[in-house]
Symmetry: C2
Subunit: 223 residues, 2 copies
Amino acid sequence: MKKIAQSHNSLQTQVFKAIENAILDGDGAFAPGKNLTEAMLSTELGVSRTPVREALRQLEQEGLVRVETHRGAVVVGISEKDICDIYAIRVQIEALAARWAAQNVTEDELAVMQENIAMQEFYFSRSDCYQLRDLDSNFHTLIYAASRSRPLNFMLGSLHHYTSKARRLALVDFHRAQCALAEHREIYEALAGRDGEKAALSVVRHIEQARARLATVLTDASP
Amino acid sequence: MKKIAQSHNSLQTQVFKAIENAILDGDGAFAPGKNLTEAMLSTELGVSRTPVREALRQLEQEGLVRVETHRGAVVVGISEKDICDIYAIRVQIEALAARWAAQNVTEDELAVMQENIAMQEFYFSRSDCYQLRDLDSNFHTLIYAASRSRPLNFMLGSLHHYTSKARRLALVDFHRAQCALAEHREIYEALAGRDGEKAALSVVRHIEQARARLATVLTDASP
DNA sequence: GGATGTATAATTGTATACAATTATACAAGA
DNA sequence: TCTTGTATAATTGTATACAATTATACATCC
């Protein structure tokens, strides 16, 4: 884990992201069950304990670590079952999001989505998985925003790190990327046509597909 | 807001709960839009700024306040639409929870639920709304736990303060309390019979009823 | 009078010191 | 050998000091 250089962001934010990335990337010292001491993290990152403490508290709220009083923080693992559960939950909530977004999405937002899809096509032709992953994540975020529901955005935000872990697992899969692109187009069309039911259905299919694909990745990898 | 006395809990936890309650109770100084300074809170509660800071960060993650860099924390309001949205989300997720709980609930857990319902009957006969509210909350928590899904528990936990605000609004309503009791029995029966579909359906009905009731309370109160 | 710049105050961000608690090592006794 | 007690170390919990940033008030200039 590299030391934190100067930046316009607050140290606390940077520390949070540094630790979050270390955990999600599967860094050895941040494997599930590993103990994270404030002293270690603060010397490692070159900051004092205060921002580290706050970052750990935030990570606890996100569910990535569990801090016990006077005993420190331990990294919480995300099991395959957890990820499957998350997908089941996402199916339900994102269907709602799509339905609401179809009612509330603006022309400007639709334009942004179209632009996003155009860039997906571009990076797909270049086989750039990392960019595709980010664009996929961004596309869904656009739907959340268009739903105009603060609680819904909130919920989906708190799922974020789980889904990003899943996304990293399911990263390199061109066939899936192609399907995802088509599914994104379908969702866009439904939203543009203000068809809530169709949008919800498309989202459900999209996430179910992603879930099915991830399941094969997981079972292939585990034994 | 009363000063914090000595207790086995950490100051940070107590500070968090003190501020959370103040906001949910609708304390004047904690009304939506009000600015909360660390100095004010720390002198008010008789503790230093450190635990106050951590509590505010936690409250931000829960969505009750928004902290801006170098500018402090402002209380975020929960609108009626927010609450309606929450119920729509809860319907979806708690249906999942019930389905999973029907598969995984143990005899011990069923016994605890039965005991909970018995106490609901007791406090209903005594017209004790506060106890009923807590028991209702507890009953749902038992279902979450029986679902054996950490992500699901996590999600529902992050909705907690929203739902508690809604619950406080819908507090004094005996007819609703009676219906809720019957609906809880129905859910219990479905879980005891390991009937996932029936459990999910009962939960959906239960929450839809609560939502409908709350809607009338809200529209009555607003003009 | 209104805009603008500057000094001051208020507030948060970070670092550090100390207190409280818990884990660990090791010795003494049964 | 196993248990138990105690001293020490390690770690977190809290308080406080200082730095950085932003808001406010007021004077100055147009």
